[in-house]
Amino acid sequence: MDLSTINPVVLIATLMVAATPILLAATGELVAEKSGVLNLGVEGMMITGAICGFAVAVETGSPFFGFIAAAIGGALLSLIFGVLTQILLANQVATGLALTLFGLGLSALLGQSYAGIKPPSTFKLDMPLISDIPVLGPILFNHDLMVYVSIGLVALVWAALKYSRIGLVVRAVGENHEAAHALGYKVVRIRLLAIMFGGACAGLGGAYLSLIRVPQWTEGMTAGAGWIALAIVVFGSWKPWRVLLGAYLFGGVTGLQLNLQVAGADIPVEYLSMAPYLITIIVLVIMSADKSRAALSAPASLGKVFHATS
């Protein structure tokens, strides 16, 4: 085994890239769940975003418009979920699952003529001096814009939920929709917006896959990333920075296990392969285990149907 071939700096830089799609989707889902909506359709919204972003980027030649389109596509798809669950009061779990299946099918249909095409390459932030700093340069200053956007988004969501009035309202709706309603907040409207925010973020995550990380369009290319994002929200106990930690941990261990295999580490491959899932879950569970209020971190109205007259 020759571990010296693994360059930790490169590894950290790649883990940030590997984690970004999950991080984006998980951050969006976190907001939706904070408002009390359990949307299991993340996978479907991601893959719809992946093809919307890819198609528009190819047609316009601009990855920027691609990401915008991905966010819109994801948000529109999530709106279907929103209308069904918030206005028609359908079961959230079933609707979410259906949304995933629908998204997978829809994206395959939309993407038929886009298989085998190369997307325009994405702008990389050019920071000439600071990206040359040893160690810190490649880790912090040598990524595409979306990596910074995803981190910025986490910070924004954290700050908004914790300090802003909007955040307080979203949380109130998620904790007790009856009370929020009694106070005069438009529960359904707030939830619809949260759902659309979640859809837009998932769409961005999907487009990150199809435009930057892979980069190509293939059917079913998210291959379960949406489900990982859902799990990370729960294990990160609905806290934005823990979600970031979970996503990076998952991305990091995934990258590390592949690198260990290449370096010929003396660990059975089976253990290496399950390591990302196992370690991410264990770390996040340990972090939230010691506090007795851990159970309280789940929004109290999560997944419950709200109807103003009942």
């Binding site: 360059n7 790649t14 095409i117 896959l209 190509q216 293939t218 059917e219 295999q261 290449v262 089976e270």
Partner: protein, 357 residues
């Protein structure tokens, strides 16, 4: 009135019968794929085979397919559904469908099944596969010649004989032309997950690999190879459009002749359970066009190897060959038998790392 009515009914029935015999019920042929037909790899090529069947037989067959069917219990459900809905012949195109195919076939003795890359037969279950290792020998030779870092990356899916055979064949022939060559093998435990395949390719490149081979289904690794300026081979399908510069050659699965032959047998009523394992010679395995990047002498060498395999003059597993632990596997001039190849679960000497269980 009554006699007239019954005469008319009789006539109608007779006419109906005549009509059905004239047009003959089309043979209903089903395909089950492990990935999406748009994967541009394994499932894509099987679907090309299905389309060829449709074109060849026209109205005489009706084909259906179900894509992205997970291996295991879910496959059994899909197969049962297909058998119940009147399919005469069903192709199950992934290794993991082996037991589901056998189980469902036992319940429907009148339906014929064809399982790709497996080894379990029954009266109504045939198996078929291609000798991909013949193609691996050719691209292994090219990889050994073309690598400058002497590190060849190999993205492997599951530790099944088929995949291990490919690694061994590629390694033996790379080593033959380049004694310094090293293989870096990554197991991703999936047939189709573009982001994981892309990550594996990135990890390989970061550790100095400059030629990538893969035994997974998506062209993600090819895309990464193109982006990072290294070399790669198309897998299952040509994949040229994903790596115009990176792609050196490819192993193309060509199922069309086999599918047409088997559907013909089904229509003629001559279908019986067989085990088919064809290679370069009958055209089941095709070597994609060589890239201009490969110098002419290496192209000639690779072509000569492919030709001698096709002609039956050379077998890619010819001794002297040792197993990884140094014990003798094949003596000088000895050729591996199909039984050993079909169950291959060991690396040959020189490959580092262990075969996962």
């Amino acid at each position: 009135m009554k006699p007239l009515k019954s005469i008319l009914t009789c006539a109608a029935v007779a006419l109906g019968l005549a009509a059905t015999t004239a047009a003959a019920e089309p043979a209903k042929v089903g395909f089950v794929y492990v990935g999406p037909v748009g994967d541009f790899g394994w499932s894509y090529e099987h679907d090309q085979g299905r389309l060829a069947v449709e074109e060849h037989f026209g109205d005489a067959v009706e084909t259906t397919f179900v894509e992205s069917v997970p291996e295991g219990a879910d496959a059994e459900r899909v197969l049962t559904q297909m058998a119940l809905s009147g399919h005469d012949l069903i192709f199950t195109t992934s290794f993991g469908y082996m037991d589901p195919t056998i189980n469902v076939a036992a319940k429907f003795p009148n339906v014929h099944f064809e399982h790709a890359t497996g080894y379990k037969n029954a009266d109504n279950v045939s198996t078929y596969s291609a000798r991909f290792y013949e193609g691996r020998a050719v691209i292994g030779t090219i990889a050994g010649r073309m690598t400058e870092s002497n590190k060849v990356g190999y993205i492997a899916s599951f530790p099944i004989p088929e995949v291990i055979r490919g690694i061994n064949s590629a390694y033996i022939h790379a080593k033959k032309v380049n004694p310094d060559v090293e293989f870096k093998i990554v197991w991703v435990y999936t047939w189709f997950d573009p982001s994981k395949e892309a990550d594996a390719a990135t990890a390989l490149i970061e550790q100095g690999v400059d030629v990538i081979m893969q035994h997974t289904d998506s062209p993600a690794a090819m895309t990464i190879a193109e982006e990072r300026g290294i070399m790669a081979f198309g897998q299952a399908s040509d994949m040229l459009q994903f790596g115009p510069t990176a792609r050196l050659s490819s192993i193309i699965d060509n199922w069309e002749p086999y599918y047409i032959a088997r559907v013909q047998a089904q229509i003629d009523g001559t279908w019986e359970s067989v085990s088919t394992w064809d290679g370069i010679a009958p055209g089941m395995v095709k070597i994609g066009a060589f890239s201009d990047r490969i110098p002419a002498d290496i192209q000639a060498e690779a072509q000569a190897l492919a030709d001698s395999i096709a002609a039956g003059d050379y077998h890619p597993f010819t001794g002297p060959l040792n197993k990884q632990d140094g014990s003798v596997w094949l003596a000088d001039g000895e050729v591996a038998d199909d039984g050993t190849l079909a169950g291959m679960n060991f690396y040959v000497e020189g490959i580092e790392g262990d075969v996962p269980n």
